[in-house]
């Protein structure tokens, strides 16, 4: 089967899966007939209202999305700016890692939610968001970079070495191109985790704006429709960003034989 036909088939099946889920939701919500299980039409109406008239405080949906996006990109950018160089450095000089791992590794397992009190005590404003999102995005990026450096094919390094290449040449022309696809994968995972941290971040951010905040606001009011709108928006935006990322990856790393699936 050729590629474009396969793409169309995949697309149609995706539409079908989506349709099945919506249909099941339709059946269940009709059967339940409860305000805590909103119908599709109610969710749609909540979406339209939030988009057109804003939430209970008059903040438009687009403003919520924009605020969250900026926070996520800020946290993600800091995570990349620290995670990639640190991963590279520790991969190239493994002693750095082996002598500090008792500090680094345990931090990895502390959930971002557990950092909330510290963030509240030590930080204010925008920094709180950035800090919590950074925590989530940092480790996938850092760890994949670090592991990738240690997995550079030694034959490729030796090819350059036999020609008398300097260490700088080997790092620039062999190690970096070899680890870039993995770094991209780490970034993609990190971006996903960043989105997952948005709720925790906006829980303590203090401002009434952001998609996570929107969910929290309506959670207090037990308004399921608006909550679901917020959830779906986080999911869909994350999905779109992931798709864009994959497209860029496939273009940049077209020398690769294996194409990532997820």
């Amino acid at each position: 089967m050729n590629k474009s036909r396969q793409r169309i088939t995949n697309f149609l099946y995706n539409m079908l899966s989506l349709g099945v889920v919506m249909f099941l939701w339709y059946l269940l919500s009709n059967w339940q007939n409860s305000p805590y299980f909103p119908r599709l039409s109610e969710i749609w109406n909540a979406f339209v209202t939030l988009a057109q008239y804003g939430d209970i405080e008059g903040i438009f949906l687009s403003e919520h999305i924009w605020a969250s996006l900026i926070r996520i990109f800020a946290g993600f950018a800091v995570a990349c700016a620290i995670g990639i160089p640190l991963g590279l450095a520790m991969g190239l000089w493994p002693k750095l890692y082996y002598r500090t791992r008792s500090v680094i590794e345990p931090i990895r397992f502390i959930p971002p939610l557990a950092w909330i009190p510290i963030a509240i005590v030590f930080m204010v404003g925008f920094n709180r968001y950035v800090f919590l999102i950074w925590l989530g995005a940092f480790f996938p990026i850092f760890i994949t970079t670090l592991l990738s450096v240690t997995r550079v094919n030694p034959v490729h390094v030796n090819v350059a070495k036999v020609f008398g290449a300097s260490r700088m040449y080997i790092i620039r022309k062999i190690v970096l191109p070899s680890v870039l696809p993995d770094i991209a994968t780490g970034m993609r995972v990190g971006l996903g985790v960043a989105w997952m941290c948005i709720l925790a971040a906006e829980m303590i951010g203090g401002e009434m704006i952001g998609v996570g905040r929107l969910i929290l606001k309506y959670a207090e009011l037990l308004r399921m429709s608006e909550i679901l709108v917020g959830m779906v928006i986080i999911g869909v935006i994350g999905f779109i960003m992931n798709e864009i990322f994959i497209m860029v990856e496939n273009y940049v790393f077209r020398w690769r034989s294996e194409v990532s699936i997820d």
């Binding site: 490729h156 350059a160 036999v162 008398g164 690769r256």
Partner: protein, 246 residues
């Protein structure tokens, strides 16, 4: 200074296991020296040592009268494993050596194209390794090794990963290339027929810890006839040496 191009006298240990035990030989200019030995007898270790990648050994490796060093000497190495750089097109891969050695890119490209022609791969300059078959990739590796016009060309079981048919064609090919552009070659293999087909001199390595068991000078004219009586006799003799338990 010795009159040989390469003088090797090494012992190599991994922990308390001796891999190469007092291996001593020399290589002359434009010689096609083959080192043959059973699998896992330290052949790759030896290749890494004489090409200057592995420096943790006892003894001496002197190339042109100086301890071997890739930053000083002009060495090329055709690896056993597929070694094409996945993110380089064939042309980028082949010009890598000359560029590392400081040649200007346009001159390097000119040489690269010539070497690609030498291995009969013209037309594939802009292909990535994943678009090429294993045999073609090994041709790229040979072209890359030739591009720096090395004083010493080390080949470590260069056809080991290829199927029998391709391997045979590559043996013919490597001899054609060598005759077209003579280099000093150290060719390592575990295939005795291949050894007798390509080598002007053959060293037979023993099992671990490897020592040099014997030396054969092959006076047969190139291209060699695999069914020639003398060819078969030498092949037989080396086979016996490789099988012998000592």
């Amino acid at each position: 200074m010795s009159e040989h191009l390469l003088d090797v006298h090494v012992t190599k240990r991994f922990g308390n296991m001796t891999v190469l035990n007092d291996v001593r030989f020399h290589v002359d200019k434009n010689e096609f020296l083959v080192i043959v030995g059973p699998t896992s007898c330290g052949k790759t270790t030896l290749a890494n040592i004489i090409s200057g990648i592995d420096t943790a050994y006892d003894g001496t490796v002197q190339l042109q009268g100086q301890t071997v060093n890739p930053k000083v000497h002009n060495i090329s190495y055709v690896f056993q494993e597929p070694s094409c750089i996945p993110w380089y097109t064939m042309l980028q891969d082949v010009t890598m050596g000359p560029i590392i050695k400081g040649m200007d890119p346009s001159r390097a490209e000119e040489i690269g194209r010539r070497c690609i022609k030498l291995v009969d791969m013209a037309g594939f300059e802009n292909y990535y390794p994943r678009q090429l078959s294993g045999g073609m990739q090994q041709r790229v590796a040979i072209a890359r090794a030739y591009a720096t016009s090395p004083d010493l060309l080390v080949m470590d079981e260069p056809f080991g990963h290829l199927d029998a048919q391709t391997r045979y064609l590559m043996q013919i090919e490597i001899m054609r290339i060598w005759h077209e552009d003579k280099k000093t070659v150290v060719f390592i293999t575990n295939n005795i027929e291949e050894a007798v087909y390509v080598g002007s001199r053959i060293l037979v390595l023993s099992r671990l810890p490897a020592t040099i068991k014997d030396e054969h000078i092959i006076d047969l004219p190139y291209p060699r006839d695999l069914t020639d009586a003398e060819f078969l006799r030498i092949r037989e003799a080396i086979t016996l040496q490789c099988e012998a338990v000592d």
